[in-house]
Symmetry: C2
Subunit: 680 residues, 2 copies
């Protein structure tokens, strides 16, 4: 027994290590490819065409004066054309790969993964083809300049890796045992499998952001449907391995696992809190607006653009590149842009022109660039998220928040400059301190706020932002901003974008974190009355085989008699088939061979005995049990169906889908709160 446990835990470690290493390796490769492809839109390396910009210019004192990296032509319009053309080629490749080989690889994937982890199957979603197309399509889509991020897709390909590798391992060793005798409704291997998916999702976020702890928290706050310390540890371990491999491969050659690192030397001041709150409000509004219009766009796409997916992607990529070329922060890679936005302006190094605010013209120009970048990016996100390329929404949201935050920061800095003798400031920072306000921190907080606004995550966002920058001094401001966003979302929002997509697409998902409101309805209302049950005695082989052939019920109750349906147990469809196959090998089965489901004489030759395969103590509830309790039972104990009885007699059966159907009926039909129905 002890050895079996040891073997199982070792097996888990081996799988997690393999999964972590693979994810880290894939992430590092994708990082390198993405950077190269992003760069070739604006130019190429004249000495070695296969180098990206930073390697091409390696060793040069100032990147802006790098001699090896050249633009395509001296003639500006030609460069512009190249920029657009390459964007089109990249997005075309990404989209056609996805559409032809793995349609599941489009979009983010987080919604579907939440459903899979909560116990539903979505075949093909975690297949090898999906993994390949998602990994190949992702760098192409990002490099094409579309407003897409890599985080959602990273989670998806990571979970694919987890699924593929753990299936390889678990197939060889089916430790599916003692399930029926003890009446356990989940097998240990399927539990392990789910845990590995959760751990992989953690590793996916970890490598995407270079934030191992953020990954762990993401898996707790967003993916995992049941919090267990062992799952948390598995996520921790898998993230650590993945990030460690990423660090070893060192894709950015900076020794860092994140693309940028910012440190703030200056502290914040209490008088800045109102501005932090404004940033939080922005994030909340951002989340609500983007998800509302994006859902409308997705519904429009479903209705009218079904056949034109590739064209749509091309048009989006075209428009994006045509517009972006003229705005610095839209043109450059989003991560690169955020690095510039987060940074403190310093006197020593030469800064981006965002720091040049000497005269009114420069100020106006900078503010306009930032405002336009925020607004255009928001519009692009609404149209792009959900189109048929691998696409995440985290990083584009952060980019929006960062441009908005930086603009606000610059305004606050100007206000301070013109009122620096005010008593308000002198208590906070010295009157002559020109460095009192750091606009970079506003960009940082804006990014946190927008990320929280779109995902409705709190703890995860704070930890990710913290790991991205190590801004220890800014943990309280970050928490304040995210808290404001959360409060706005709770009161005016409809849930994170992943949950809204689940609802919109009608995916079978019961959110275990939320309280469901069934208005005191009881199980009687939602259950299926006409249940198909097996009789304890008296059925023949013929009846059972007809039954298997004609129906597709997965779990069946066994009752004493039709007149007196006392519950004797349940049996799964798979078990029925297994027993019949076993018996066929051993004895001669005829059509009228009787089938027994509850019998003590086990090996009678002229009977098919299912007794050892039934679960004699299934989960049952009484008539009148509140639906909330039944729902609790479903996602906490994980049965496939629950029997309803009264005085020991079977009255009905209920499944998760029955509950979802009933909840839908309650909310959309009865209460009439179907605001989206006009759009659909």
């Amino acid at each position: 027994f002890k050895w079996l446990n040891l073997y199982r835990s070792l097996q888990t470690y081996v799988i997690l290590t393999a999964v972590g290493i693979t994810i880290g390796f894939v992430a590092a490769s994708l990082n390198i490819v993405t950077e190269y492809l992003s760069n070739i839109r604006t130019g190429y390396c004249s000495s070695h065409f296969y180098l990206n910009k930073s390697f091409c210019c390696w060793g040069e004192l100032e990147e802006s004066k790098c001699s090896n990296w050249v633009e395509y032509s001296q003639f500006a319009p030609l460069n512009y054309t190249m920029f657009i053309l390459i964007s089109l080629v990249l997005s075309f490749t990404a989209s056609s790969l996805v559409l032809n080989y793995a349609p599941f690889a489009a979009g983010s994937g987080i919604s579907e993964i939440k459903c899979i982890v909560s116990g539903f199957t979505l075949s093909g979603f975690l297949s090898t083809w999906t993994f390949l197309m998602k990994s190949i399509g992702l760098p192409l889509a990002i490099a094409s300049g579309l407003s897409v991020g890599k985080e959602g897709p990273s989670v998806h390909y990571a979970v694919c890796v987890g699924s593929i590798i753990s299936k390889l391992f678990l197939q060889g060793f089916p430790n599916k045992q003692k399930d029926n005798t003890t009446g356990k409704s989940r097998t240990s291997s399927s539990l392990t499998f789910k845990n590995i998916l959760v751990a992989s999702s953690a590793a996916g976020v970890a490598v995407a952001f270079g934030s191992p702890m953020g990954g762990v928290l993401f898996s707790i706050e967003e993916i995992s449907n049941m919090f267990k310390l062992s799952t948390m540890w598995e996520s921790y371990y898998c993230s650590l391995v993945a990030v460690f491999v990423l660090k070893l491969m060192n894709p950015f050659r900076t020794g860092q696992v994140v693309m940028f690192e910012v440190t703030y030397d200056r502290d914040w001041h209490f008088f800045e809190i109102p501005f932090f709150i404004i940033l939080g409000v922005f994030g909340g509004i951002y989340g609500i607006i983007i998800s509302k219009y994006n859902i409308k766009m997705v519904s429009f796409r479903k209705k009218f653009l079904g056949e034109h997916a590739l064209k749509e992607v091309l048009i989006l990529a075209g428009i994006t590149s045509i517009i972006s070329y003229f705005n610095d922060f839209l043109k450059m890679d989003m991560t690169e842009g955020m690095q510039i936005l987060y940074e403190e302006c310093s006197d020593i190094f030469e800064n981006h022109k965002i720091c040049h605010l000497a005269n009114n013209y420069q100020i106006f120009n900078t503010l306009l660039t930032l405002a336009l970048a925020t607004l255009i990016r928001m519009i692009l996100i609404v149209f792009t998220y959900g189109c048929k390329v691998p696409a995440g929404i985290f990083v584009p949201s952060m980019a929006c928040g960062a441009t908005f935050g930086r603009a606000l920061g610059i305004l606050v800095q100007l206000w301070h400059k013109h009122n620096s003798s005010s008593k308000l400031f002198t208590t906070g920072c010295l009157a002559d301190d020109t460095k009192c306000i750091t606009p970079g921190t506003y960009a940082f907080l804006g990014a946190a706020s927008a990320l929280s606004g779109i995902t409705h995550l709190t703890v995860t966002v704070v930890v990710i932002m913290f790991e991205l920058t190590g801004a220890l001094k800014y943990i309280i401001p970050t928490m304040i901003t995210v808290a404001v966003t959360k409060i706005i979302n709770d009161n005016y929002g409809k849930g994170g974008i992943a949950d809204q997509m689940i609802e919109f697409n009608g995916l079978p998902f019961i959110d275990p974190h939320e309280d469901h409101d069934f208005f005191d309805h009881v199980v009687d209302d939602a259950m299926t009355l006409k249940t198909v049950s097996l009789l304890e005695k008296g059925l023949t082989y013929k009846q059972i085989s007809v039954f298997i052939a004609d129906t597709n019920f997965q779990t069946l109750p066994i009752i004493e008699s039709l007149q007196k349906p006392i519950i004797k147990g349940i049996i799964g469809r798979d078990e029925l088939i297994t027993v019949i196959q076993k018996n066929q090998l051993l004895k001669n089965i005829e059509l009228d061979t009787p089938c027994h489901f509850s019998s003590t004489d086990s090996d009678s030759m002229d009977v098919i005995n299912f007794t050892n395969y039934i679960n004699p103590a299934p989960i049952t509830v009484k008539l009148g049990t509140p639906l909330e309790t039944v729902l609790d039972l479903f996602h906490k104990l994980g049965p496939k169906c629950i029997l309803i009885e009264q005085d020991g007699l079977l009255k009905g059966v209920i499944t998760r889908k029955d509950i979802l159907r009933y909840e839908y009926y309650l909310h959309n039909v009865v209460s009439g709160h179907n605001e989206d129905s006009e759009v659909l």
Copy 2:
């Protein structure tokens, strides 16, 4: 309905804000008092006796040459005597306050809080007196130099604050309703109450470490028995408010909420990983040894020192101060010591003598000091943790880990110095780089490892260490070290010290995070057969009142008849009494008035009708249900008891205590694995 929800959520926010503010205020005050009391053991401020050392020396260029802070005498032995005497006075005061006014204020309190949050009551443990004595006793105990930390006690007083304040609010507005009709087993107000306790515990850790996110994770990983997103958000909010108040009050006058801040400029190298693993192993072994011997000490104390608690504390304080005076790292405040241990040695500032490693004598001296500090501190912790003063084990453990880690770091540095041309190093850092190894980071990792070893927490420890120092570059080493500690603990340890104390003290706690092993036992074995049931009809008022007077069953099943015990529902003792009292007001009740539990004619004058107060659909399981499933039902759905039936007939009743009793029986009586029984 909407207004009620709004009102409730507002109420929660008001309570959480009040709780957070109070906790932040108390924490700031305690910090100030602790620092003052710690300092007066070695001297006093000659200009203003009420100032602590750092304020007394405020503005002086170098603290070591502060002129206002003077020792008690020029004569060294007199200073030594004063040091011991003040320690004795402080510990005497702490202990006698606790013993006389609030015995529950002794020790850490985390174990008991885990039990309370999981649903058991421990009256007086969260009372105002306990709160007062814990808050007053804590600075005294820490300042007396005993090897105690403030984290456990901080959690305890924070939860007291949460309990006291929420009771004030919730008393006024009892929203205990619709419980019986819907059959819900928990009331919304008791749920809110528990959530507030969890949120308070988060705030307690947040203010103790100055680590708001660490607090949130602590409440998830250690305290909360059911993870819900709403609880996490409440913890987040409460921690934020508490830390914000702490920051406003600025007790250290450094603008920081932590006592120290360390930043590492240098990165780590791959060849250091074996040493990180050694640190992890140290933490694992540390945790196992300390908890094993501490449990033995606690059992010894229980048996032989029951009457001599005060004397014991005095002897401990005496011995501690006599020994500590001669070891730099034992003598100074633990937090202060850790700050020195974590720091990089720099050429610019004058460093502590720990950085002076010019000759062999200095090296030997430093290493000996560190080794002795580690060893003596470990012995002191074993004897001190559990004595009758408010006492946490987190910080002392971190201090042990830090001294050990620093010693290891110095050894590695020396090894590198003598082999700096080795190929191993040249790949990592430049051959002539004397700053290749940073012993401070080893101290930091050692502290993380020891903290994880004693608490068995992983994610929380990583986040706390991260928030303490902002050592962004060291997140992977921290994770590696903590992972090694975790693996050792899982394989050789017996659980975190809080869980071991729960088991040792026989507190009623079912750990929801763990898989319990019942070796396939079913509910039949553990249930109570002789159940007391109420008959649906036929009982008289006399029988009911005798029943109430003579028994103390909290929940009672209602059956159809003794011959045919079909389950009709359950009723709580409180409901029985309520209905009787209501009826007594309305009508004339005689001893032979019949009592009906399931009747449709509701208001007959000559009957006491309990029908509206019963729960007609209690949670039931069948005979043969695995105990693991029953346990799942208990901590996931939270009923007080579960009925066991077969064919609709009542067969027995089971409560949490029955399960715990049976688990104890299985593990200690049947399997004979009772290693501690010799000690007890």
